[in-house]
Amino acid sequence: MISVVLFWVLAVAALVFGFLVFRLDSMAQVTFALLASFLAVAGLVLLLGLNYLGVVIVLMMVIEMVIMAVFMIMYMMNPAGLMPMSMFHNAKGSAVIAGMVFVALVAGILLVDWPGRQGEAAPDLTFALGEALMGGQMLTMMTLGVTLFATIVATVVLSTNRGRYDRFGDDLDRDVADDPAGGGVG
């Protein structure tokens, strides 16, 4: 009974806050509306018994959205939302496409004869997940690790202002780096 009430509260919260992301004017409010939507979804994941993954989502999204808030305020023209503004282009066409996708998904959800529950959940789900990631799903875990490392390299390369080619020339053969201000002890 409590879980049913919780489901409806969290589901409505996830949808309403998700909708508010594109309705609010202030960038800070937008970021925290998205965070609220994520937290509601994390609550639903907890409700389904996936304790570890629910907590991971909460921790990751709180940090991610706080960092995102900094970037939002940095890049947006109206960070405080003091003046109402429109940030849409082709809102009508986008709404039509999104509506059509939603209708198609709902038709699929309601028309498909979903299979019943098969198998029993492991007594310790976190242990089972860890065992899978370190065993049968090792390749998945390794791929994720390499992809994350590639992301670190790519983000640093993309966002750096002056790279080694700016400092040491196109052939990297300059003896002293061409820096605007000298640093270190030299």
């Binding site: 998700g18 890049y75 966002s159």
Partner: protein, 101 residues
């Protein structure tokens, strides 16, 4: 609580995110739309794990993959936004339409 209700919620989140990703002008807001779409995928995956195949761990592993994809998407998106803003002071998609058509 049924599988259908969870999937309907996932479809709603996905559609809202899709609307945002298509309609927003700011690059950062488009990333928010993408994150909302992946949010719906998390709900659907957790529901499928619980209601269809709770015996296996594949559903849980898929959620781990989706969470990682969200983190990578945000980091790479901000790096691209920083790079294009640094070189051309562009933060709107309409100003970065070089490859259109």
């Amino acid at each position: 609580m049924t599988l259908e209700l969870f999937l309907l919620l996932a479809a709603g989140l996905f559609a809202i995110g899709l609307f945002g990703a298509l309609s927003q002008m700011s690059i950062v807001m488009i990333m928010m739309g993408l994150e909302l779409m992946l949010n719906g995928v998390i709900v659907a995956t957790a529901a499928f794990w619980y209601y269809v195949a709770p015996g296996g761990t594949d559903g849980q592993v898929l959620i781990v993959v989706v969470i990682t994809a969200m983190a990578i998407e945000m980091a790479a998106g901000f790096a691209v936004a920083t790079a294009i803003y640094r070189s051309r002071q562009v933060d709107m998609t309409d100003d970065a339409a070089d490859l259109a058509g």
